[in-house]
Symmetry: C2
Subunit: 152 residues, 2 copies
């Protein structure tokens, strides 16, 4: 059964095209959609970090894959789509943990966010310490390699 979602906010920043790396300098404003009351952001600055769920608007359904080389690099294995974060994925949904810089009326300002200008935001959740990963995080070597310039 399909599920329909309505964007709750829109991304405004200087990155107009999907580029993989160098997100460090991008400061993003996230503005509530007209149907969401301003009150929905009350007390948000009590939190330092947010999880933003968003739509990869520019990816078409035909581009979706179920496995592939991360970043298309044949030096990496053919990894299942649920074992990587490639945007050409079923439902084309992105997720990023961002740092909250500020709140002004119907807008929040964040950094460490990897969505481009015009992206539709589907949900905003505060990071609770109690939802952080339990135990040590393990990942394969190709992730370190793929991510080395991401936040530069």
């Amino acid at each position: 059964m399909n599920i329909t979602v309505t964007p709750v906010a829109t991304v405004h920043n200087t990155r107009k095209e999907a580029i993989d790396d160098n997100w460090k300098s991008i400061v993003t404003e996230i503005e509530l959609a007209p149907h969401i009351p301003t009150q929905a952001l009350d007390y948000i600055t009590d939190f330092s970090h947010l999880e933003i769920i968003y739509s990869f608007n520019k990816v078409n359904e035909e581009q979706v894959v179920y496995a592939g080389h991360p970043r298309g690099n044949p030096q990496y294995p053919v990894v299942g789509i649920f074992a990587q974060r490639k945007k050409e994925r079923p439902n084309r949904i992105g997720l990023c943990t961002v740092k909250l810089l500020g709140h002004r009326d119907r807008t929040i300002i964040v950094e460490y966010f990897d969505a481009i200008d015009g992206t539709s935001v589907i949900d905003i959740k505060p990071v609770y310490l109690e939802f952080e990963p339990v135990g040590k995080i393990k990942q394969p070597d190709w992730v370190n390699d793929v991510m080395k310039d991401y936040w530069k």
Copy 2:
């Protein structure tokens, strides 16, 4: 503009009703939907943790709020919906960082997951170290209080 998503997997566990606390003992199996090839899970055990995006299936649209007391407790402030993780939220989408216990054919087994039996899963993403929160996490006192029995 609305976005339509199709569940990629289903939750199987022993928790049949929405109960707030005591998730520690719940081990969950997540089984791929028929339209998703088995290959989508290849190499998933290279990761220790996953982020699961899911639908709060049992919440009706009429129950959605834009602000409220966390857990309905008047001792807490009236907090905006994007400054709390209450399930009665626009788009009724949940998100949890889980620990991966195993993988068998079209099923993964996880713990530290807070979705009930029959929940529709919208996406599964591996946790990358590089997407962990940057800097210290700040949260208000009511979160510590609300979460004290969550993972018991």
